[in-house]
Symmetry: C2
Subunit: 219 residues, 2 copies
């Protein structure tokens, strides 16, 4: 009975997500849904990505949070469109929230729309937003065993950015084991290792993203 209620919610969300996708496709804007635990470094990765794409691609950001506009404030220095969604207690973004946000944006003026989801390794993976790229971050501080415990997001993402590599050696984090586990669950996933603190690995990530934007616009 509960499950049927949930199925209804997912179906309705899926329908709006398809409408969003059609809008993004029509405007030639690659929408990226960026998911992670709280504190994994979503806003930091976005800030670095904006910095490195400056002059190359026109980027907009939707910031999803339960409450507060801390993240949107941080991105104010980049002269780009930023919309803050406060979900008011809901633990994930959904397609309708995105539909309302993009109604206030000039999509034709963008190449990339980064959607920062609510910090949560579970629920955001269940709600498609209309994105063409599902990206997630895992921070080294969270531990290499997380794919086993939160399988859906790792299975469904196109790309995994492992952040805070400067903390490797401070604990028992095992990158080889992480890569092995994730690749067994999701053989097509692309993995980047970065440190938003030291800057290591960020240019490889941004070059890849830039190439994906180019491919999207072509077809």
């Amino acid at each position: 009975m509960d499950i049927e209620i949930l199925e209804g919610i997912y179906d309705a969300n899926e329908k709006v997500a398809r409408e969003n996708y059609t809008l993004f496709r029509g405007s030639g804007v690659l929408a990226m849904n960026l998911m992670a635990s709280p504190g994994a470094g979503k806003t930091s990765l976005i800030a670095h990505t904006l910095e490195l794409l400056k002059g190359r691609r026109k980027v907009g950001v939707i910031e999803g949070d339960i409450a507060s506009s801390v993240d949107a404030e941080k991105l104010k220095t980049y002269d780009i469109p930023v919309i803050q969604i406060n979900t008011g207690g809901i633990c994930h973004l959904d397609a309708t929230m995105i539909q309302q946000a993009i109604a206030q944006m000039d999509l034709d003026a963008l190449d990339l729309l980064i959607i920062e989801n609510v910090g949560n390794l579970v629920c955001p993976a269940e709600f498609k937003l209309g994105e063409s790229l599902r990206a997630m971050i895992l921070s080294v501080a969270e531990g290499h065993d997380k794919p086993l415990k939160y399988p859906l997001m790792f299975s469904d993402s196109d790309v995994l950015v492992v952040n805070k590599t400067d903390l490797i050696g401070m604990g028992d984090f095992d990158m080889a084991e992480l890569r092995d586990t994730v690749t067994r669950m999701n053989p097509d996933i692309i993995i980047f290792e970065v440190s938003c603190r030291t800057g290591e690995g960020l240019s490889a990530w941004v070059d890849w993203l830039d190439a994906r934007i180019g491919e999207f616009k072509e077809g």
Copy 2:
């Protein structure tokens, strides 16, 4: 409409939570609901707590995870009752899951039941389990701005354990600012600073918990 459905779910959960509470009260077992993001150190804190309470209190553990029994395996070395709940995709424990788990436990043989919730800083806060103590962990790696972004859990918890203090200085984490923000939201909250890696601060946490168990049994 959606909201009404949710209210119904919360009411039903509340009713079972009260039944669980009555069982815990009758058996003199303090139930602690332990909540945190993925990778904040819930299982590590439990392991240290078991170690330090050995010979002082009889402890049982319920491990909540979306999938896997990684955490329950880790606790196998402590000769105590451990029950693993796999929620099968659900992002929090609820009172009915706990009701089913405790039906398999000898509550009269316990002083403390630690319930490790699913790693998630949002949804677990919305579902009472019948606990007398709501505890949460924030790791230094997550950042001091998290209370603003995930207010409910910080507002509703009795105790906050700040873990991974050995990482202070590696980033821009500000303990004074964290304490200030949390105390403004929740003036009665007790805050401990610990490092499960170095052991710092753990005996103060466990001594406090031990005293709470004593008070619960008396009253």
